[in-house]
């Protein structure tokens, strides 16, 4: 399993209710159901990935996460997970508010745009950075938002929520292995992972 998903899984209390927004082929959900006995749901846009999830016995529905989050009653979930998808969301503040309406906690992970490789590429070549975490050209990227770890902290403060936990990580080969970065995370980490809540 991807290293950021391993960290996310470690934050989740056994037996809780979880929804994974943009759940892909359901790797995290399957793991959480098996290892943590959670009640898991997922939303995924892509037809074949949705079918893969249902085949595996997951409760997943096909749709656009921006629309689908609107239908759930308040506090339906203990954790609402948005892993490596925030950078593709058109209205991040609306999404974060929806997440903390339908769930007690939100977990968000995203590629850190202020990693030194990104900074160096832009500074030295003058081209928009292309890295292993953000492998697209500016004209074909689905990642319409560039987010840094510092930006995200500021953003959560501005929309009025609290950061309950945060880890910055550096991943290696296929993102399956990695380590936590504590010194200069905004410069050295490839991903940021945050547990957020409304602090009430």
């Amino acid at each position: 399993m991807r290293f950021d998903l391993q960290i996310i899984a470690s934050w989740i209390e056994p037996g809780s209710r979880v929804i994974d927004l943009g759940c892909g082929e359901g790797e995290l959900l399957k793991y959480l159901i098996k290892q943590k006995n959670v009640t898991g749901n997922g939303i995924e846009h892509n037809e074949s990935r949705v079918a893969r999830c249902i085949e595996k016995g997951l409760s997943v529905l096909q749709g656009d996460i921006n629309e689908e989050v609107l239908d759930y009653p308040d506090n339906t979930f203990d954790y609402v997970i948005l892993s490596q998808t925030l950078q593709q969301v058109y209205e991040p503040d609306t999404m974060i508010r929806s997440m903390l309406r339908i769930g007690k906690n939100g977990i968000v992970s995203f590629p850190n745009f202020s990693h030194w490789r990104c900074r160096l590429q832009l500074l030295s070549s003058g081209y928009a950075p292309v890295t292993r975490q953000l492998p697209y050209e500016w004209y074909n990227t689905p990642n319409i938002r560039v987010i840094t770890i510092k930006d995200f902290r500021k953003f959560i403060y501005e929309v009025g929520f609290n950061i309950l936990k945060e880890v910055a990580i550096n991943t290696q080969s296929e993102d399956r292995y990695g380590k936590a970065i504590t010194i200069f995370p905004n410069l050295r980490a490839t991903y940021g992972i945050f547990l957020i809540g409304n602090g009430k």
Binding site: E47, A51, K56, G57, L58, L61, G63
Partner: protein, 390 residues
């Protein structure tokens, strides 16, 4: 639907099966229909496959669509030209696995495929009911199936599954008997017909009633309204296909000729196809049953009946886990109708999975062999079966 049925390519089949009969509602204990009328006796033709397990937790009820019957899978004799209508889905090791589950399918009340319907002999007059047969609803079909399920000693259905009008029965089962429905799979279905769907049905009914042989439903001892029923079926077939599937399957190709005939014979392949389907249908289906069943489908309105007009409220008493499936090219029950029911299920906190399967074959896609449909049904059933108390 029969035009798609083929022998299994890998020769996997549930084997030889038999029709069974169940008669109930004998006077004076007639069924009270939704219209208020009392009606009986009622006979349902049904088939079962697989074995009911000891705690009776593996029963699946399959609900058929307009022209279907109880013959879902397998063969009546070794020489049958075709297996049952959903043989690609139901059988040993298939999506609905007969080695694992006990499967029941009954022909609906009002049909002409063995259950009591307008072509059945009225015991009071010793003549076919014709239009004396009461108007039945989707709810009445479900009540008749409930009597059969009680008769079989089944307290809980692991799943109720069906497409199109069968999907309406799935939803109605979940609304009427939440304590009996562990899970449910409505395929290519809707909570209520759109004006478009009613319009097509009405044109089809008018075609039957305009046939002079129809004779207000009394034709059982004379010539039948074959032309009317054939046209009704042709209209149906247009709605079951799609622009895309007709373009791929027929285009503007001509049938057995290189140029137009400059008369009113069938020139185009699509014309010839529709004529053939219409002609074949009249051999097996009763025109009055077509009128009754399409009317029941048009009347169906889950929101009105169970939610005072609110879709969210209509699902509020349901407890089943749902797998909802729609198909991209289905213009009879388009995806927006499935999405609307998914939305209402979510608002009620129901466990729902939903997939819009990419398929070019229009509404009929749910009947055709489709690896994706098979695997999602298999995965969903395994989950609900493993989660059900043993």
């Amino acid at each position: 639907m029969s035009e798609y049925i083929e022998h299994d390519k890998d020769k996997i089949s549930v084997g030889i099966v038999a029709k069974k009969l169940f008669t109930f509602a004998e006077p004076p204990n007639e069924m009270v229909l939704e219209s208020g009328a009392r009606f009986g006796p009622v006979t349902l033709t049904y088939e079962t496959y697989g074995e009911l397990n000891e705690d009776k937790s593996n029963a699946i009820l399959i609900l058929h669509a307009l022209s279907g019957d109880s013959h879902v899978a397998g063969y009546y004799t070794a020489d049958d030209e075709k297996p049952g209508w959903w043989d690609n889905m139901v059988g040993p090791g298939k999506g609905i696995d007969t080695d694992k589950y006990f499967i029941v399918c009954s022909n609906i009340i009002g049909s002409c495929m063995g259950s009591t319907g307008p072509c059945t002999i009225n015991p009071k007059t010793i003549l076919p009911y014709g239009l004396d047969f009461p108007v039945v609803t989707i709810g009445d079909m479900v009540e008749a199936q409930k009597a059969l399920i009680d008769h079989l000693g089944i307290k809980k259905l692991l799943t109720v599954v069906g497409g199109s009008i069968g999907g309406m029965q799935v939803l109605e089962w979940c609304a009427r008997y939440p304590e009996m429905t562990v899970s449910a799979i409505p395929l290519a279905s809707t909570t209520k017909h759109s004006a478009l769907a009613i319009a097509f049905n009405e044109v089809a009914r008018q075609a039957i009633m305009a046939d002079p042989n129809w004779n207000k439903g009394e034709y059982y001892f004379g010539p039948k309204p074959d032309m009317g029923l054939a046209v009704a079926r042709m209209i149906g077939h247009i709605t079951y296909l799609s622009d895309e599937s007709m373009r791929l399957k027929f285009g503007r190709r001509l049938q057995d000729k290189s140029d137009f005939s400059f008369n009113f014979d069938a020139d185009f392949q699509i014309e010839s196809y529709l004529r053939y389907q219409g002609k074949k249908f009249v051999e097996r289906f009763d025109a009055n049953s077509f009128l009754y069943i399409t009317k029941a489908a048009d009347y169906y309105d889950l929101e009105k009946q169970h939610g005072d007009g609110s879709e969210v409220k209509a699902f509020s008493k349901m407890t089943a886990a749902f797998l909802v499936v729609s198909f991209t090219s289905d213009w009879l029950y388009p995806t927006y109708q499935s999405r609307a029911m998914v939305k209402a299920m979510k608002k009620n906190g129901l466990d729902v999975s939903f997939c819009e399967i990419e398929a070019e074959w229009g509404h009929d896609a749910f009947l055709l062999p489709n690896a994706r449909l098979t695997s999602v049904i298999r995965g969903f059933l395994e989950r609900v079966y493993n989660a059900s108390p043993k």
